[in-house]
Structure formats: structure tokens, C-alpha cells
């Protein structure tokens, strides 16, 4: 068995080296700086979380983080983009067709953040239209140094502003493994994302607004036409 394991390891290493040619440049996890068209823009989503509220088990929390790997010295100058709408898409159909039945639409305007919904979208797919008549919760966008500013409407809470990046991963060592210059991870590892910030959007809302059972969810960023 030992010989077999070594062979597996060797073939893995060879293929890892081959793989680096096509992929190493963009290996920034989880989704930080994942694609050329959005890298460096307010529309670059770094992570998406969905979890039961730690403070109210009847509520669900969505987190959409953007603009990752911000140094503390660079964070205060960062902002959201009024031309970018962030969207949480929810498929609560019985068939799970992975099309959005409900959306939460997050917009930024004059130093404020708005979340509309959850509401049935006007259209599904790559194009989104703001459902301006939906329930709207609004808050002042929080500043780097200030306390978190939050808003709430009909049980839907909203926060937007700079926060610590909650993501953790020894990305640098992973890149070495992929590049064939290391055979595995170190113990202990080093968190590449330690000490860095993101521009975060956090939404909390009653689960009852989303349906029952299990839903499929995903985040998108969308640029104004």
C-alpha cells in the first residue's frame, strides 16, 4: 500500500505542475479577485455566507463581501459603487431549477445602503431590474473608524461597510503546492487573509419571508446599464 501511495503522490505532483500553467495566476480563494473583468472593482464578490442568525433562530443572515485583501491603510478610502447593485438570489421552487424566485437587491446612494425585498424579480437571468416598490430597509454606510450603522424595515436588517475579512486559508502554501514547489501544507499554516479587510454587506431577515425547507441561494453583482 505504501508503494501505491507514493505513486499516487508522484503522479499528483506531476499533474499539479502541469496544472499551474493554466491556473496559477488566478488562484485567489475563496472568490477573491477571481476574474479579470471584476478584479479591483466594487463588483468583485469575495465571499458569500448564509446562516441562521446567532441572535434569533427565526432569522437567516446573508453576507456578501466584496473588494478583498484590503490593507488596513487602504480600507478607509474604499467605497461602494452607486452603479453596482448586489443581489442575493433565492430559488425556493420545489424542483430546485436554480432560477431566482426571490431576490434581495442592495443599492448604494449618497452614503446610504438600501436593501429591497425579498421580492419576486421583475425578470430572471443575467439582467436585473430594481423592484423599487419592494420593502426597503436603509442604513448609513458605515465608516472605517465608526461604529456599525444599521437599518431595519419590517424585520429586514441591513449593514454595509468595511469589516475584517472572515475568510481564512493558507493560500500562499496552496499556491506553492499547485506550482509544484511544495508537497503539502505546513502545520501550523499561515492565514493569508489575516489582517485584511473587505467591504461587507450583511442582511438579516425572517426565514418566513424565504419559504420553508431548503432553498438554493447565490450572490451576484450587477452593473447599471
Amino acid at each position: 500500500m505504501k508503494t501505491k501511495k507514493i505513486n499516487v503522490r508522484r503522479s499528483l505532483a506531476v499533474l499539479l505542475v502541469a496544472g499551474v500553467i493554466s491556473s496559477a495566476t488566478y488562484l485567489i480563494a475563496a472568490d477573491h479577485i477571481d476574474a479579470p473583468a471584476v478584479t479591483g472593482k466594487a463588483s468583485d464578490i469575495t465571499d458569500f455566507y448564509a446562516f441562521e442568525s446567532p441572535s434569533n433562530s427565526s432569522n437567516l443572515v446573508f453576507v456578501v463581501n466584496t473588494q478583498g485583501l484590503l490593507a488596513p491603510t487602504a480600507t478607509a478610502a474604499k467605497s461602494f459603487d452607486s452603479d453596482v447593485m448586489l443581489e442575493v438570489n433565492i430559488d425556493n421552487s420545489s424542483t430546485k431549477d436554480n432560477q431566482e424566485d426571490l431576490v434581495l437587491q442592495v443599492t448604494f446612494e449618497d452614503g446610504k445602503v438600501q436593501v429591497y425585498g425579498p421580492v419576486a424579480p421583475i425578470q430572471k437571468g443575467l439582467n436585473s431590474t430594481l423592484v423599487a416598490t419592494a420593502n426597503k430597509a436603509e442604513a448609513t454606510v458605515s465608516t472605517y473608524a465608526g461604529s456599525p450603522m444599521t437599518g431595519e424595515a419590517n424585520g429586514v436588517k441591513i449593514f454595509a461597510g468595511p469589516r475584517d475579512d472572515p475568510f481564512f486559508f493558507d493560500l500562499d502554501q496552496y499556491k506553492k503546492v499547485i506550482a509544484g514547489t511544495a508537497t503539502g501544507f505546513s502545520n501550523p499554516g499561515t492565514d493569508t487573509f489575516a489582517g485584511t479587510n473587505v467591504m461587507a454587506v450583511v442582511i438579516e431577515l425572517p426565514k418566513s419571508l424565504l419559504g420553508t425547507g431548503t432553498v438554493n441561494a447565490w450572490a451576484t453583482s450587477n452593473r447599471k446599464n
Binding site: 475563496a30 443572515v61 493558507d170 487573509f193 447565490w218
Partner: protein, 174 residues
């Protein structure tokens, strides 16, 4: 530490929709937007999508991602781990990448919400879930999570700042 694949299968469970309606009485000029980035499960685009396809993946709606990318994901999986047979979820390469190529996150509206907590699988994603180690196990760990032990844990198990117990939960910026 035994994963329950049954939970994955159960994700297609029934649902009753409480629809929110909006009145269209006031009709201001509609503001429209075009999708630029998309993500659900962590690190999917970064790990499985080749450089030339990064933007294209982000510009594909989830219901179309499987058909467009499942084969490419399988090729990438086998390039990363030529010895892949099945993983802890019991999924062969075709089935595993078929699931991953449709980038949506399953979220349970009752019970635990976690990427994996030792019992529940893919019922959400908590801030403190060690999602990368879970994914490494599924990529490299083989059917019983024991293969390639140096590749299945990055040994970074937690965030560098404590999370808050109240909204907005994320820690203050550095």
C-alpha cells in the same frame, strides 16, 4: 466524521413559497443592471474554472452552468488529483463535478446551517466554517478522507478575529 450524503440528496425537498407581491401603481423609470460577478460556494471559480473562462463563468446563470462547465470541471479535478476515484460523499468525478458546476449554496431554513459540521453537509455556510479544509478533503482525501494527508488540511482552522454575537456579526476592520 462520517459525512451523510443522504443530506445532499434531501436538498431537493419540498417547499412552500410565501410570495411577496409588489404593487405596480407607481411606475418610476425602471433601473436595470447586468450581471458581472456570481458566487455561491467558496472557491469554485478560483479552483475549477480555467483562466480563459473566469469571466464567462461569472456571466453564466446557475441554471446554465452545469451544461456549460461540468466537463471542464471534471478535467480540472483530474488534473489536480489524477488518483481521484470517489470522495467522502461517495461521489465519483463526474457526479462530484456535476454538483459543483452549478454554483448555488443550499441553505436550510430549519436546523443547522453549515458547510459541514461533522453531521450536517451543505446546509449553508457559517462565518467560522473551515470550508477550505472541507473542500480539500473532498478533492484529495479519497473515499475515506485518508489519502494525500498533506493536502487535506491547510492547518488554518479559524479566523484571526473573533466574530460578534450580534448584527452585523463580522468583526470590526483591522
Amino acid at each position: 466524521m462520517k459525512l451523510k450524503y443522504n443530506n445532499l440528496l434531501a436538498l431537493g425537498a419540498l417547499l412552500v413559497l410565501a410570495a411577496c407581491n409588489n404593487d405596480d401603481d407607481a411606475t418610476p423609470t425602471p433601473v436595470t443592471y447586468v450581471q458581472e460577478d456570481q458566487m455561491a460556494r467558496p472557491a469554485i471559480n478560483t479552483v475549477f474554472v480555467s483562466a480563459a473562462d473566469k469571466d464567462s463563468f461569472n456571466g453564466t446563470i446557475p441554471s446554465a452552468q452545469g451544461a456549460a462547465f461540468a466537463t471542464k470541471f471534471k478535467d480540472k479535478l483530474l488534473a489536480l488529483n489524477a488518483g481521484y476515484t470517489t470522495n467522502l460523499l461517495g461521489l465519483n468525478a463526474t457526479d462530484f463535478t456535476g454538483v459543483l458546476a452549478t454554483d448555488v449554496l443550499s441553505v436550510a431554513l430549519t436546523g443547522a446551517t453549515t458547510f459541514y459540521d461533522g453531521t450536517n453537509v451543505l446546509t449553508g455556510r457559517k462565518l467560522n466554517d473551515d470550508v477550505i479544509t472541507v473542500e480539500l478533503i473532498l478533492l484529495f482525501g479519497g473515499p475515506d478522507a485518508t489519502m494525500n494527508p498533506t493536502l487535506t488540511d491547510d492547518h488554518v482552522d479559524a479566523n484571526d478575529k473573533a466574530f460578534l454575537t450580534t448584527f452585523p456579526y463580522l468583526a470590526s476592520p483591522h
